[in-house]
Every structure is written in structure tokens, then in C-alpha cells.
Symmetry: C2
């Protein structure tokens, strides 16, 4: 007898959101020699290999047994303190009981959803938004509602109108999810006025903001200054903002170490939830990150990282100009890893992808970053991972794909 | 204005199960010089420090960029293959699409709960059982129902009666959770007949078994042979059993690497859930574990580990005999990390703990391993972590606590 396993799935288990980015990763692994403009991976050329090897060697000398042992769920104590220091440098001043170390900031998002969201609760998001956040909220069976954004960030009038409409329908709005700095996928840097407006909106309607800030420190110094990236949490006097960040972009994502900041009542709940979820974030990973902070590895790396990714953006933009002329339009990213390009009229992201895969280049379709709206005129191009040579070749292939996608299908013989 | 954060909690977030074991860990960290018989930690003296340092050094040489990069959610490919080999040695023969690498087997449990359990679904457990599993199921808002066990394992008649009663009440039973080998907290090794009976029960009632096997390879060779620890999954021809295991006890828990085996349909759902939960288990950790397997570090360690923990059990039993005479009763553990002792009549686990903390020794109260039943006549003593000297002193303190707990309270002046 074979067992029908589908019957055992929970409602949540049966209706999970598939990450388009992860799907592209699977696709990339299957097509030999594919050039991926789909990834949002940091460039391994920036990893502090020598420092990390030294640190691992010191930690694994065997003089401190706790390096390989179970650890506290909140995080390794000295790392929590060091994270406080990082937060101070971002003008966010918190007590240790407001911090939880997480297994990457993806886990931070999931933890927040676990303690806040009941099925049917509304989560508002700027649209387009990070597909991994959409997955978390959909998997929590929340109702994810997108609010449009313009070049300054989320449209506050639309946000207000959406809020009133949902309230009038008797819906419970729990939070608004925002990536204010060099957003994934648009690369957008939200203006100070919009940040301020979001905080006012949250207070006025008694809801929370979830501020996800993986890219804030990776500003490009030709077009953004530190003040432009000031966290919303830095101006939050009411405990309206849960703040998430990570060491994945500044040190390495293979160490799954991020953190979240939440009011003590919620941080305690998140800690308790995490006990049953994974006991704690990997202790060796946490110790490595702590040592990298203590020895100044990350602090020293930041100026280099900003310069490195800015140079990669420049190469990518040059390639796109050369290969596409004015057929693709985009706003020049002022930081982060992504460029959000608008396709010429009549072309769709999915149609283009089909031709691109045939030419061994991939990107992420813009549609993946929208919740419900069937928008197909954007593509996300990641410039952080490929080498300049691969970028050049990848963009050439993409331009070929675009020509092919525009050609009318050949008449059937 | 201060914000009332409790109002934002979800039903799940408001009713999380607190781990008694984690709570003891917090307590232990606060009391200076406390001797903990509460922990279920592997002995760091058994960690393969030199091998792990060599492995980390090789991996961080910088020749393979993927070591510190994001990785596939299912797990590092060669590690998945190596896990297949480990499973083969346990007579469990599966395809790669039945394996998911998890961030410790605690995450495996949580993932299973996420895809299987709706609020109100029934999960049956042997009682007492692992408190971290109770937490997972309670946090999923399942209804956790305990079934008593005797010296051979779960009472199959009671299981049948409970099943019929719940079915008659119209309840949906999704699964039975079982730790067949050297169970946490009782140290119990379930008999072959009971294993077989569980599998028959699952088929008869069309439900699943969740088999959690962290300790199976740590049998003590004076009283258990390999065949005694044969996984239920090894005899499962119908896909009834989800199997979980870990490298935390055989290599190190500071590397959060475990794995689960599930039928392909469920493994795919678990993979998709994990995408949004933490993207992947730490890649460096996975690479270290893979190298430890490839280089034979774990294989070579097993005989030593069995001998080591057996010797520690012997010391613990000797200490208990010396300090308690026949006041404590227990079945000698045939493997694993735990000894489950019954208190003399009239004494309660919580009363004893109070006196024990005052004397700077701690254990875990038996009550923590029961779901609803208010059973207070057991304590869980972990013999894996403390050195022989600390065991001796800890047990002496515990014996003092027992004397104090038995004395009638002094008359008030």
C-alpha cells in the first residue's frame, strides 16, 4: 500500500509561497555555463578569507569549549553587546533585551511573523517588495496587501486610503513591511520625508513597522551620504519599529548570522518562539562574527565594499547602455545590489526570460516582487555577483534575447 | 506615548510553550559555581578539535568561494549524499529527494509541524517525552495528547484506546512522535515488538510516525547491540515514518546541522517552507560536517563516544548509589545522555529543585516532560556534560538537598 501524503498537509503546508529567487537559483544550477544576473549574492571576492581563517583557527584551538557547544537562544552574550555597538553607529540606541540574534535576517522576518500574525491578519508592503518577505507573510496565512511606491518611496496617500478601506472592511492591519535602503528589487532609497510619514502613519493608526535593512551600509558615495540611509528606527520614540539587519552582506552569508531589534515584550516572545525553532543560531558562526567585529574586520571592510559594489554598478550600467541603448530604462542605484529595469512596451518579463534561458543568461522577473498585481514590464538585474567579464557577456546575451523576444513568431510551415 | 505591544501578538505568539530545559540553562548561567545535572549537552572533551581546526583552515583557504556563500535550501549536495550513506548504515535506504538538511534536528521538528499541523490537530506523544517537541507542537497550536509508556516503550493498548476515543470525538490525529533510542528524558530503549506495533498502528489508522533519533548511535556496548537500536523507518515500506537525526551529539552542537527524511511529497513542502524560514542551514557548518564525514572523523569517533558516555554513566550511577543508597530508583540507561530517577514517596521534583538551587546544583524536573499530567515524582539527571569530579560533588549536593526537602519545615517563632 502506498500512502497518500498530501492528505496530511496543514492548510499552511499546502499553500506555501515559492520563492522566485530560489527557483532561479535551482534553474541556474541546472543550465551549464549559465550567466546569472538573477542572484543577489555578495561577491565572494570581498570576503575576508584570511581574517576568517585566522579567526576560525583561534576559536577551534580547543581552549574554549563553549565555541562548539549549545548556546543561549538570544545569542552569544558578547555578540549581542557588539551588535548594540553596531546599532549605536546607526543611531539606534537599545538595551540588550531588545536584541535577538537570528539565523540570517530571513529568520528574523519569520520570527516576527510567528509572534505577530494570525491567519487573515493584514500585512501591508510597498510594491514591488522583497519576495522572501512575501513568502514569510503568505506562509503565515496573512493577507498581504501591496501599496504602490514612486521614486521617493511608498505613496503615503495610497497607504492612507488603503488603510481606511481595510479598516472600513473590519480588517486587522498588524504591520507595514519596508526596506528603506536600496530596496530589493528596486534599489530605491526612500526619502526622509517618506520615512517620517511612515512613522506618523504607524502612530496614527496604532500599527507596527517592520524595517528590513540589509543594504543600508552599502551606499555608493557618489550619490548617497550616511544621513540618506538613516534608519526609521532611529527616530522611533514609541516602539513602533521592529528593525532587522544582517552580517550576510558585509561579512558572508555562509555564516547565517543576522539580528533583530524589537520592544522587550516582543523580543521575549520571539526568544521563546526561537527556542523551539532552532534552539539557537549556530554558535561557531556567532563566535566568528563576534571576532570579526572585535578585530575590526567588518569596520575596515565597509569603505572597500562601498567602492567595490559602486564600481560593479558602473560596469553594469555601462554594459546596459552599450548593449541596449535606450531600450531599457532604470534609475541608477545609489547603493545595494540591484538594478530595476523597465522593458520596452510590448515585452513581458516572462517572455524575455524564456529567450534568455535559451541564451544561457538569467535574471529575476519583475512579477515575482508583486503580491497580486500582474505587472510584467520589469526585470531585476543583480550586479553584485558576476565579474565584469561575465556581466559584459551576460548583458550581450540578454540583448540578443530581447531582439529575439521582439521578433514576431515565424509563420508555421 | 508608549505602545501596548501585547495587543499585536498572534494567538500563537501569545501562547508559546517555554522550554524547561532552556529555562534551567538561564538559571544555571545566573547562579555562580552551580553544578548542572540539567544539561543534555555533549561533552566538549569529545569534540574533534584538531580535525575541525584543520577542516576549517582548509575550507577557508579561499580556493572555493561557495564555502561562505548562500547555498541550496535542501542542503549542500555532497552532504546530502553523505547523509544517504549514514542512513544506509542505519538500514534506511532513501533517494536524495527524501532528505532535507536542517539547522539542527530541533528545526527538523519545527519544519514537520509547519507543513503537517493545523491548530486543533492531534499529535500523540509517548509520555514523558522530549520537552522541545512538546514546545514545537504546542506552538503550532496542536492538541498534544500523551500516551503512557512502560519499560518496553509506549503502551500499545493505551495508544489504541486513545486513538479510538479521539476518533469517536471527531478529532483529526496527524501523527505520533517517538524517540525510540535512549529517549530524552527516560533513557528508554523501545523494544522491537513495540516498534513493530507502532508501525502497524500507524498503517491501521492511516497516520504518520515522527521518529526522532539523536542518540541511537550512542549505545553502551555492555547492554545494547546495534540491532536493538534499529530505526522504525528501516522497516517502513509505506512511507509512514518521518525520520530525524543530527550531528549535534556525534560531532558538535555548535554546528547546527541535522537532517530529516520524509516522503518526497512532504520533503518538497518542507524544502519550500524552509526557503522562507532561513534560506538554508549555515553553509560553512554544512561544509565542515561534510568534511568530517568524508575524512572519517565521525566514523572513527563513534566507538570512543560510546565508551566515553558509558563510563560517565557508570560514574554517575556509582555516585548516586553512594550518596542516595536506595532512596532514588532508576533503570540503568543503555545509551544516550540521561538517567530518569524516581523520587522517594512524598517528595516532589519542584520541592527538591528549590533546595538543590540553594545548594548550587540543578537538574530538570520530571514534570517538564509531561504534557498535561501533573506528575512530580521524577527528575532527569544528565550525565553527559559534567566531569567525574563535578558529578561527585553535584550528587553530594543533591543528596543534601533531598535531606533538606524531607525535613518538616521548622515551626515559625
Amino acid at each position: 500500500m502506498t500512502t497518500d501524503h498530501r492528505q496530511f498537509l496543514s492548510r499552511g503546508g499546502a499553500h506555501l509561497h515559492q520563492s522566485a529567487i530560489r527557483r532561479m537559483g535551482t534553474l541556474a544550477a541546472r543550465v551549464p555555463d549559465v550567466i546569472t544576473l538573477a542572484a543577489g549574492f555578495p561577491d565572494p571576492a570581498t570576503f575576508a578569507w584570511t581574517d576568517l581563517r585566522d579567526i576560525a583557527g583561534d576559536l577551534l584551538a580547543g581552549t574554549d569549549a563553549s565555541v562548539l557547544q549549545y548556546g543561549p537562544t538570544r545569542g552569544y552574550g558578547p555578540l549581542v553587546e557588539a551588535v548594540r555597538g553596531v546599532l549605536d553607529s546607526r543611531h539606534i540606541h537599545v538595551a540588550p533585551d531588545e536584541i535577538v540574534v537570528t539565523s540570517g535576517s530571513q529568520q528574523g522576518l519569520d520570527l516576527v511573523a510567528r509572534v505577530l500574525l494570525d491567519p487573515g491578519d493584514v500585512v501591508l508592503v510597498e510594491e514591488p517588495t522583497y519576495t522572501g518577505a512575501i513568502s514569510v507573510f503568505v506562509n503565515a496565512q496573512a493577507d498581504v496587501v501591496g501599496v504602490p511606491q514612486d521614486e521617493e518611496g511608498v505613496d503615503l496617500d495610497a497607504l492612507e486610503a488603503t488603510t481606511r478601506r481595510l479598516r472600513a472592511e473590519g480588517r486587522r492591519i498588524k504591520c507595514f513591511y519596508v526596506v528603506p535602503n536600496f530596496q530589493n528589487p528596486t534599489g530605491l532609497l526612500i526619502s526622509p520625508a517618506r520615512r517620517c510619514g511612515l512613522l506618523e502613519w504607524a502612530a496614527r493608526h496604532d500599527v507596527l513597522l517592520i524595517e528590513d535593512d540589509p543594504y543600508g551600509v552599502l551606499r555608493f558615495e557618489d550619490s548617497a551620504v550616511e544621513a540618506d540611509t538613516r534608519a526609521i528606527r532611529a527616530d522611533d520614540g514609541e516602539g513602533r519599529v521592529l528593525y532587522l539587519s544582517t552580517f550576510s552582506k558585509t561579512l558572508a552569508p555562509g555564516l547565517r548570522v543576522g539580528w533583530l531589534v524589537a520592544p522587550p515584550v516582543l523580543a521575549e516572545r520571539i526568544d521563546t518562539a526561537k527556542q523551539a525553532i532552532d534552539l539557537s543560531t549556530g554558535v561557531l558562526d556567532q563566535r566568528v562574527v563576534y571576532e570579526a567585529l572585535r578585530r575590526g574586520v567588518i569596520e575596515r571592510a565597509l569603505p572597500r565594499l562601498r567602492q567595490h559594489y559602486r564600481a560593479k554598478r558602473d560596469v553594469m550600467e555601462q554594459c546596459l547602455h552599450e548593449s541596449f541603448g535606450d531600450q531599457l530604462r532604470w534609475r541608477s542605484p545609489r547603493g545595494g545590489f540591484f538594478l530595476w529595469a523597465t522593458l520596452p512596451p510590448g515585452l513581458s518579463d516572462e517572455g524575455l526570460l524564456e529567450h534568455a534561458v535559451a541564451r544561457k543568461v538569467i535574471f529575476v522577473t519583475g512579477r515575482a516582487f508583486f503580491v497580486h498585481e500582474d505587472v510584467h514590464d520589469h526585470i531585476r538585474i543583480g550586479f553584485s555577483t558576476p565579474t565584469p567579464e561575465r556581466m559584459r557577456e551576460g548583458v550581450r546575451r540578454l540583448a540578443d534575447a530581447l531582439i529575439a523576444a521582439r521578433e514576431p513568431p515565424a509563420a508555421q510551415p
